[in-house]
Amino acid sequence: MKKNTILQLKGIRKRFGETTVLSGIDLSIEEGEFITLLGSSGCGKTTTLRIIAGLETPDSGQVILDGADITALEPNKRPVNTVFQNYALFPYMTVADNIGYGLKIRKVPKPDIAAKVEEMLQLVQLEGYGSRMPGQLSGGQRQRVAIARAVVNEPKVLLLDEPLGALDLKLRRQMQLELKRLQKKLGTTFIYITHDQEEAINMSDRIAVMHQGVLEQAGAPNEVYYHPKTSYVANFVGSANILREGNAAYAIRTENVLMNGEPECTREAAVLEKSFAGGQLRILFQLRDGQRITASRYGLDADIREGGACRIGWRPEHAVEVLDDGQ
């Protein structure tokens, strides 16, 4: 199933003074896709988003939206809308005025705006909240208003800059599902930014992992997870062990590290540390050559003691060769 390309980034470069933020980003995004730009802070994902929105101009490269080069187009003239990290709701306008702002700018007749706003409030489950001020809303509600305010303009691409970052874990999980549902319903292309790999895996059709201004790998979640191309991706998405042997580097997921018993357990290792976090027991081993390997298991495992020794190993297919970028 081949879909239309809605947005294309070609060789985007950007420097702020002495620091290079983006060194040549190439990315094609399909219509109706939910794509996530994933990376730690300072990797250039927000700058990429701001360049798509027009809030930043690239030093070189092109932004092509629906076949048209919009690189030099002003942000207010782009059919693209953004959900800002801190929501950026106008504090002195009501919820309804906030949502209707973009329509008012485009001189849509007042009754139509009111109808559209009502529809949006329903969509984000905030019926009856139209006359409230943003200050009277909770974080999750503000989040929904910010989404409604962007979506109402029917943008060709919706940009979301870590929109769930300020919410607590429980609410975040709930909003992840809601956002995904909303995206399916609207069929709009979503470009989503996060530093949370779990969130990215949960929501996205495709994940683009960024690191130090470079797009390391773009692909479906399971592709990125099981077949990382670089050691950085392997480490960042699901925290894999990187084992270096000779000139090659291999990524081994912690849950795939076998301990005792299994025939693959051929390597002598010292148990350095045991810790328990998030329902998982994590055991840190040190191999004879000094490299460290972490294994993870659900539940508590009493057999292995800190300071002891044991044999560990993994199935050959679980050691994925990756490009070593020193991470």
Partner: protein, 271 residues
């Protein structure tokens, strides 16, 4: 830590002392005796005299016109200046901003002296024009710094959000920037108005012989002798001041209450 009573007592006593001279002028404005130390019974004589005094009335009008014009020009110059310097940062801007603050940092007498000598060099006729220029000079810093503070504290993403939603740069200014800086402009202008309306030192030097401001007039009256009508004037001005402050406090209280209501409803939702 336990709350102690004596800090309150200290603050209370000092505050009370600062009110003594003000209250005395009010009390003595109703004194029938011309000699201020003797209580000669209740009288409204000085108020009658005050309202008959054409010179004082004229001086009051002059002071109001002066304060209005200086605040207006300071509002324009200070606001555009703050906006311009926020948009474009440079060393030159910092230097200009620093020099523009000088009028409220150096002693007033220097400013008065400077303006007197420059205006006479330029052969400007002393009067309302020279007064407005001099007052604008010390009004600008109040507006400029209040507006700058608002701009620095402004959430930049609000402007970006408006732009993102299709607003032209002019619309962005009108819908986002202006409402943000408006409280700064207003409080700067209010402060500037008070300073202009109260200024003696600078006005004395640039007022010339034809135009008198109220403070200059009061100063000459006080220098020449005892005039109990100044008591009446003091009482009237105090009443106006308190009324204005009470009005602005009432407005403030009203907004506070609605804010509090907002917070309360928010709390309810979070429960």
């Amino acid at each position: 830590m336990k709350t102690k009573k004596w800090p309150f007592a200290y603050v209370g006593i000092i505050t009370a002392i600062t009110y003594i001279p003000i209250l005395l002028t009010v009390v003595y404005s109703f004194n029938a005796s011309k000699i201020s130390s003797v209580w000669g019974g209740f009288s409204l004589e000085w108020y009658r005299e005050l309202f008959r005094d054409r010179d004082l009335g004229e001086a009051l009008v002059n002071s109001l016109i002066l304060a209005f014009l200086s605040c207006l020009s300071a509002a324009v110059v200070g606001t555009t200046g703050a906006l311009g310097m926020y948009r474009w940062k440079s060393r030159l801007n910092d230097a200009v901003a620093m020099v523009s603050m000088l009028p409220i940092m150096i002693p007033e007498i220097i400013l008065g002296m400077v303006f007197l000598s420059v205006f006479s060099l330029m052969n400007l006729p002393f009067g309302m024009l020279t007064l407005v220029i001099a007052h604008t000079a010390f009004c600008i810093p109040y507006v400029y710094s209040m507006v700058s503070t608002r701009l620095v504290g402004m959430d930049k993403s609000l402007e970006e959000a408006a732009l993102d939603l299709g607003a032209s740069p002019f619309r962005v200014f009108w819908d986002v920037t202006f409402p943000t800086i408006l409280p700064g402009i207003l409080s700067g202008v209010m402060l500037a108005f008070a300073m202009s309306f109260d200024d003696v030192v600078i006005s004395i030097f640039v007022t010339g012989s034809k135009v008198n401001t109220l403070p200059v007039k009061i100063y000459t009256k006080l220098k020449t002798g005892v005039t109990p009508e100044v008591n009446a004037l003091a009482a009237v001005m105090l009443a106006v001041t308190i009324a204005l402050i009470a009005a602005s406090a009432a407005v403030g209280n009203w907004t506070n209450r609605s804010e509090r209501r907002q917070i309360k409803s928010q709390e309810k939702e979070n429960v």
